[in-house]
Amino acid sequence: MATPSAPAPKVNRLGLPILDYRGGKTTLCAGCGHNAISERIIDAMYEMGVQPERVMKLSGIGCSSKSPAYFLSRSHSFNSVHGRMPSVATGALLANKSMLGLGVSGDGDTASIGIGQFMHLMRRNLPLIYIIEDNGVYGLTKGQFSATADIGSRLKTGVANELPPIDTCSLAIELGATFVGRSFSGDKKQLLTMLKAAIAHKGTVMLDVISPCVTFNDHEGSTKSYKYMQEHEEAISEAGFVPSFEDIAVDYDPGTTYDVEMHDGSHLRLRKLHEDYDPTDRIHAVKSLMEAHARGEVLTGVFYVDPRKPSFTDMLNLVDQPLATLPQERTRPSRKVLDEIMAEHE
């Protein structure tokens, strides 16, 4: 007679428990927004049933860039140099375009030292999920302002920032990224939905996630604190996501909701919260961002999405098999070819 066994652990569609998506124990400060983002990445990968071995994690330098050590330990990871994750990610995805690329950066890593590489990655529409864990300061070097800090935002010492912030979302939209949004590490539901849709997208996904630094930028006077976000977050739309492996049961009202069919057949449903919201119109998206900023709001949600534009690896027309594993027969031309070339130079 069979003995009653303990209930089997919950597993995803690959049969993997969520444990298989976890990473090492975090060494970031307790309460750091970055930890919450790591949790959401774990949830999204688990719920989407992504094979962890099919993911490459890439990061620069900073507290944020350390975080890939704290999720998906069954995925290869590359913690590179400060501000230069985009180029490393580009090389890695060219070598193996069959992988899911996940880039993690900070606001310093991206908007200061790395702004050049950031812009060129957006411009290439490299198939990569690019997450900025944005706290308005350099956490790892103990709290100096970064280039996303708002005018008037104050450090703990009382020093106020005088230079205008770089809006990485407007930039990304202008430069050619094909999935651009902003979220907040404290907004579990929105962030998780956006991450799941990001996994389904082919092209550059740029998510700027406000992620408070509890140690250096969570005080009164900061515009990147939990409190400030709770008071000023303004969602432009409400996102719902139906993955390709689930039935689209729920109806939606086309008058109030955009239904975006993603590359893999899943659906991103964006319910308007703003009167004139249109996630397929870049000019409009940038205008909304600027207007919200002028109103003192932190606009969140998916601002722009184009699931059809060819990605960088598509444009290069690469062979189907990853370049990394091509056999010699396909990479070393024949003896005849060398003879031919030599004869041309005789």
Binding site: S80, G91, A92, L94, N96, Q328, R332
Partner: protein, 619 residues
């Protein structure tokens, strides 16, 4: 009309006899310089001259001395023909073709007495030199006659001097014709027009000039089966036959043509039947990105490369250190030019040796390959990709502008017989066999080289965390003193292994010489010629070792140990290779080292070496 003002007052009285037309003919041994203006299209004419002499079987070299400018500044192209096979730059010019009015006076004034000048009649250059054999040619008039289209005359004019030179120096016209047709192979009309210009120049010389110089070309068979190619094309070919899959670059002279030519080759030979490419080429936003992409690709398993020059190397420093410390393959071609800073972008130097060997902060060491010839550009181009994956560290191929951008004669390249070596990579099956028990930075084989896995390896234990911060043998973060020191010691041990894997030096020794010469890269040609001068003129026999890679193979230590004095010949101010050798050699050996340096931006020549050698040896 050829004129020899032998009677005119001259500072060099003894030259009169050289000038006499009865002087002994000098066959297949001269250097000819064409002075023109950048952007005037003289390159085709110069190529035709070079190719024609080559096709007549005479060893030949061509060196383009050009400004950092698109059009308008002076340019000199030197062709050296040498039955002895000497292809280094020669200090003296024997024949000048002065096509640039701006520099004509200076050009002729710099000639040695008894040399030859060909120039536009109107320039009347003989007023400056009575001791030079002058051939005056009405280039403008001849050009106008053969080229009705005034817009093309600037280009066609150059072909007239090809004809004049062919007639004066007995370059076979049928061969010249072949070379012209080859040069304009896809443009029939241009070929005809240019041929007419050559013939007009030839006819003019035959009818109106009186040969009064001793120089001549005679058919030999010393170039049979040989090719002419530039070093950058050879590097590109090496990379393609190495199976390169990811190429990144940011344009910079003199390295751009490595990638430009590689793109052409890859499009021709590496696009598969379905039209898809087995390679990716990215023009990056700068060299930081170029090397970042190389390392990202190398980490993920591609054979990746970039090509650059000094300023790019400087920018790559931080990433180079990451590649060394995190042990990531990638090939960097550095086509050296004159520094520091922007320096002289179109002149040559071996100026990046020291900084590249230790590129980046902390204790960093890099593998350098040092080709001296186009053939070695090809061979080291292939070897670099094997070595970088075998050793799991970036490998730098250090060529220079002289080698990279000039045409060189060479034996044909040999097809690589060794299969591609992808180094220590564990597959999912390997991991199964190991029960998943492996560590990315464990020294399992005792050679300092660990095993790696590639992203996408289908095994739950395949992944590891790559970082430029402290890591232990299992790739876990660590700041422990012993972990760090062990890691640095293993990397040093790996570098010792590299010593045995890199190309060994080439040695010419007679077993009795007490004096040795060490050189590397393009200094080789001048050293070979200088050793002959030393033997012939001073009766001094020298041994010679050519370094082909860093870290230094054991034979280099042995060579220094077995000689009393060793001269290191190099093309930089600071004796960079000598400094590197000093770091490597025991103290009692370093006192033997002397320096012979050349650093004026021009390729080194034999006479300079001979002079500096004999001075120091007090000969």
């Amino acid at each position: 009309m050829a004129t020899i003002n032998a009677g005119a007052p001259s500072a060099q009285g003894e030259t009169a006899q050289v000038l006499s037309s009865s002087a002994k003919p000098i066959v297949n041994d001269f250097s000819l310089q064409v002075a023109t203006v950048n952007g005037s299209g003289s390159q085709s004419a110069n190529n035709v001259l070079l190719r024609s002499i080559f096709a007549m079987g005479i060893p030949v070299s061509g060196k383009n001395l050009f400004p950092s400018n698109i059009a308008g500044l002076p340019t000199w192209y030197t062709i050296r023909a040498s039955k002895h096979g000497y292809v280094a730059r020669k200090e003296d010019i024997d024949i000048l073709i002065a096509m640039n009015p701006e520099t004509a006076q200076e050009d002729i004034e710099s000639l040695r007495p008894g040399s030859v000048a060909i120039y536009e009649e109107k320039l009347n250059l003989r007023q400056y030199r009575s001791d030079v054999i002058c051939y005056e040619v009405p280039f403008d008039k001849i050009t106008a006659e053969v080229c009705p289209d005034a817009r093309l005359r600037k280009l066609v004019r150059n072909m007239v001097y090809v004809g004049v030179a062919a007639q004066l120096f007995s370059i076979d016209m049928a061969t010249v014709e072949d070379s012209v047709r080859r040069q304009f192979s896809t443009k029939k009309k241009a070929a005809e027009l240019n041929l007419n210009a050559v013939k007009a120049g030839y006819d003019f010389a035959a009818n109106s000039l009186v040969k009064s110089d001793p120089y001549a070309v005679e058919r030999l068979h010393l170039t049979d089966g040989k090719i002419i190619i530039d070093g950058n094309a050879a590097c590109a070919l090496g990379a393609m036959f190495a199976g390169v899959t990811v190429v990144t670059w940011y344009p910079i002279t003199p390295s751009s043509s490595v990638v430009e030519q590689l793109i052409d080759y890859l499009k021709e030979y590496r696009v598969e039947e379905d039209g898809k490419a087995s390679f990716a080429v990215v023009q990056a936003e700068d060299e930081l990105a170029a090397i970042g992409m190389v390392l990202g690709a190398g980490w993920a398993g591609a054979r990746s490369m970039t090509a650059t020059s000094g300023p790019g190397i400087s920018l790559m420093a931080e990433f180079a250190g990451l590649g060394y410390f995190a042990e990531i393959p990638g090939v960097i071609f550095d086509i050296q030019r004159v520094g520091p800073s922007t320096g002289l972008p179109t002149r040559t130097l071996q100026g990046d040796i020291l900084s590249t060997a230790v590129l980046s902060h902390g204790d960093t060491r890099h593998v350098l390959l040092l080709p001296c010839s186009v053939k070695e550009c090809f061979e080291f181009g292939i070897a670099a990709f094997d070595l970088t994956e075998q050793l799991q560290t970036p490998v730098f191929v250090l060529s220079d502008l002289d080698l990279g951008m000039n045409n060189w004669m060479s034996d044909k390249f040999d097809y690589p017989e060794k299969p591609i070596h992808r180094g220590k990579v564990l597959s999912a099956e390997d991991l199964n066999r190991l029960g998943g028990n492996w560590g990315r930075y464990r020294d399992v084989d005792g050679d300092g080289i660990p095993y790696r896995t590639l992203p996408g390896t289908d095994h739950p234990k395949a992944a590891y965390f790559t970082r430029g911060s402290g890591h232990n043998p299992d790739a876990k973060y660590t700041e422990r003193a012993d972990d760090y020191q062990n890691l640095m010691d293993r990397l040093a041990h790996k570098f010792e292994t590299a010593r045995t894997l890199v190309p060994e030096p080439q040695i010419v020794a007679n077993g009795t010489s007490k004096v040795g010469i060490i050189a590397y890269g393009t200094s080789d040609y001048a050293v070979l010629e200088s050793r002959d001068q030393l033997q012939k003129e001073y009766g001094v026999a020298t041994d010679y070792l050519r370094i082909r890679a860093y870290p230094f193979a054991k034979e280099i230590h042995d060579f220094v140990a077995s000689h009393d004095r060793v001269y290191i010949v190099e093309q930089n101010r600071d004796a960079q290779m000598l400094s590197l050798l000093k770091l490597d050699l025991p103290a009692k050996q370093t006192v033997k080292l002397r320096s012979i340096l050349h650093y004026n931006g021009l390729p080194i020549d034999a006479r300079s070496i001979t002079n500096l050698f004999t001075q120091q040896e007090e000969l």
